[in-house]
């Protein structure tokens, strides 16, 4: 089936070459980082994780969100999602690929990555995160590829793949839960030390992931003969709506607990994010942007008139997506390190090479996504053509 990715329009190839170009730049920046060390990033002794780990965290959520299609379709027999389940699974594959690359580029000694396998350490959450992420990648690869292969032959998916599909549901929840546990189990990092972390992660994932998926589906509809159908899009949009409301609600719970209890350690990071701490305000404009976008997105999505209007819907989805990205991809990780264990503030902002590497990893993800979607849509177009002729 892969051959379908080797033929395409001029626009397809321009896009692929552009991605390859960005990957090239990112790769050069990464070579520079390998040579000079992580000192070329904005990271420090105090803020020891930054942009890379934040993108990793965010993308685990995007990967997990495939389950929002799998559950309705396979567990509740919601047929409308039948056509796009594969797009969710392929998005998950691309997201997990990026997650792994972000972990790799964040490592000080990436050549030693196999140490995690050579010295398996069950008391380390990172060990489990590696296990569940790799497992999730394989499950989605096998399920995605097999179901698509069957679809090409106009056959139902083979029976042996069914258990894997069901397994993918708790597994998706596990990848984001374990990722939340990376943070939530650490003593002395007050922003992260919260029982609701995993729940918050899932809520924001089920908003941002399907939001991205709808945007992709709308793009595919414009550029190919494959149409997922309005009802599927609207159902997904409702999922985005309620997940985002839950996400904001969970966040407000955090704010209440920290602020009303008036415990300084719990208030400090939240103050840092929204009003600044000791005159340090790097993230304040971003966090308020995220806040405004969250409410704007929810407003447009809750109102059926604007949600059903397909020229407004994309803006609502973009607002939700960016809001969730700022919250997780910037605020959460950096905010956890501020103030530092001595209650001093060291701020963080990514450097140009760091951004180049980040973009490079995203470009790899989009390339994987492009190839997989090209194959999937090729198969679907062929089938539509065949059925049209018989």
């Amino acid at each position: 089936m892969l051959e379908k990715a080797l033929t395409g329009s001029k626009r397809y190839w321009t896009w692929v070459i552009m991605l390859l170009g960005i990957i090239g730049v990112g790769f050069i920046a990464y070579m520079y980082q390998l040579q000079e060390g992580l000192g070329i990033t904005g990271l420090s002794r105090d803020v020891s994780w930054g942009f890379y780990i934040a993108q990793f965290t965010f993308l685990v959520g995007v990967a997990a969100s495939a389950v929002m299609l799998v559950i309705p379709y396979y567990l509740h027999n919601y047929k409308k999602f039948g056509k796009i389940v594969i797009l969710g699974e392929f998005l998950a594959i691309s997201a997990v690929t990026m997650c792994m690359l972000f972990i790799l580029v964040d490592m000080g000694q990436p050549m030693r990555v196999m140490n995690v396998v050579l010295h398996p350490t069950p008391n380390s959450v990172m060990f489990w995160d590696a296990v569940v992420l790799n497992g999730y990648l394989f499950i989605n690869l096998i399920v995605g590829w097999t179901t698509l292969g069957a679809e090409r032959k106009s056959l139902p998916p083979p029976n042996w793949v069914k258990p894997l599909i069901y397994l993918s549901i708790p597994w998706a929840v596990s990848i984001h839960t374990v990722t939340a546990f990376l943070y939530a189990g650490l003593p002395g990092r007050h922003l992260w030390l919260t029982a609701i972390m995993a729940a918050r992660f899932l809520a924001s994932a089920f908003a941002a992931g399907p939001a991205l998926l709808i945007l992709l589906v709308m793009f595919v509809r414009k550029t190919s003969k494959f149409d997922a159908g309005t009802e599927a899009i609207q159902s997904l949009a409702k999922i985005v709506t309620y997940a985002m409301i839950t996400n904001v609600f969970f966040f407000l719970l955090e704010v209440f607990t920290a602020m009303y209890s008036n415990i300084p350690g719990h208030m400090h990071p939240i103050k840092y994010l929204f009003v600044g701490l000791d005159g340090h305000t790097n993230l304040v404009p971003f966090m308020w942007t995220a806040t405004v976008l969250a409410f704007l997105g929810i407003g447009l999505l809750v109102n059926p008139a604007t949600r059903k209007n397909e020229s407004i819907l994309p803006f609502a989805l973009i607002a939700v997506f960016i809001s969730a990205w700022i919250d997780k991809g910037m605020g959460l990780v950096v905010g956890g390190f501020i103030p530092n264990p001595f209650e001093k503030v060291t701020e963080y902002s990514p450097t140009i090479p760091e951004l180049a590497i980040t973009l490079g990893v995203y470009a790899v993800g989009f390339l994987v996504l492009t190839v997989l979607y090209k194959v999937a849509i090729g198969v679907k177009e062929d089938n539509a053509y065949d059925t049209g002729h018989h």
Binding site: E36, G37, L38, G39, L43, S44, R45, D46, S48, W49, I103, D106, M107, G108, Q109, P110, M111, R112, V113, M114, N115, V116, L118, H119, T121, N123, S124, V125, M126, F127, A130, L182, Y183, G185, L186, P187, G188, R189, P264, G265, G336, F337, N340, P341, F342, E343, K344, T346
Partner: protein
């Protein structure tokens, strides 16, 4: 979570065979003998042993800033700790910090200025329940049976999970090549101690309680340089000097509420003799 060095050596050998970065392990072994000294099958009879090593630190006995600096230099010089100016990339095993930042949350608005600003010597607490050891995915940081929290710079993958987990800021990451030079061409390690390994870029390091000195019967370097301000000994031995100090004086530990159980006790007040 203690770990048998011989097992480590075996695994290091395997990883060399597999070509998985084990080469640096072997370099480390032959070059400086760090791991070899830990794996000694028959320990030096003069070596110091304990059930749980710990410190009692009485900063009142450190008069001038020079007294603090003597302890810091003693450690940093023998352990080839690079002096990197940029605070973001700084590497430190033992350092000065004022009371209010050493024990955040315990200062208050009526506290005497002098006490608030009083310097304390901070280093890894060699916690009995170390968060860093719990999170490390490779056991590069591990706890020995005698309480020393070790750091194996040859196994560390530089994920920095331990830095996020340590609530005491005790860990430093080599953002720059510690064997390299600063912008003016001056080496980060002024005078290299050839008997102790230097580190490579991209790994985490911290105080390892002078395990290499304990093994040959010497006190930790900071204690030796402190004129009696830093007392080192076995916390489990009621007759040790460190326990006598803890018995007779009022001591505090950093962030005890987090449950890591630091093994460093700071003397605040109390009589001189028990």
């Amino acid at each position: 979570m203690s770990m048998d060095r011989r097992r480590f050596l075996k695994i290091a050998g395997v990883s060399t065979v597999l070509g998985l970065g084990g080469a640096s392990v072997m370099n480390g072994l032959s070059r400086r003998g760090l791991e070899a000294s830990q794996a000694t099958v028959t320990p030096d009879p003069k070596g110091l042993t304990a059930k749980r090593w710990g410190f009692a630190i009485d900063v009142n006995k450190l008069g001038s800033p020079a007294d603090y600096q003597k302890c810091i230099d003693a450690c940093h010089n023998i352990h080839n700790v690079p002096s990197i100016e940029n605070p973001k990339h700084e590497v430190k095993w033992i350092w000065n910090e004022t009371y209010e930042h050493s024990f955040p949350g315990t200062e208050h608005e009526y506290m005497n200025h002098e006490f608030k600003e009083k310097n304390f010597l901070l280093l890894c607490n060699h916690c009995a329940q170390p968060a860093c050891v719990r999170v490390c995915p490779t056991q590069a940081t591990f706890k020995r049976k005698d309480g020393v929290v070790m750091q194996d710079m040859h196994r560390c993958i530089g994920c920095r999970f331990c830095m996020a987990a340590c609530p005491f800021g005790a860990r430093s990451f080599n953002y720059r090549d510690p064997r390299g030079k600063d912008a003016n061409g001056k080496p980060f390690i002024k005078v290299e101690n050839k008997t102790f390994p230097t580190r490579m870029i991209g790994v985490v390091e911290k105080c390892t309680m002078c395990y290499e000195r304990l093994a040959i019967g010497q006190q930790p370097a900071c204690a030796e340089a402190s004129n009696g301000a830093i007392v080192f000994g076995d916390l489990e031995d009621p007759n040790s000097e460190v326990r006598k100090i803890i018995n007779s004086k009022y001591t505090i530990r950093r962030k005890p509420e987090l449950g890591t159980q630091p093994s460093i006790y700071y003397v605040i007040g109390g009589s001189e003799h028990a």
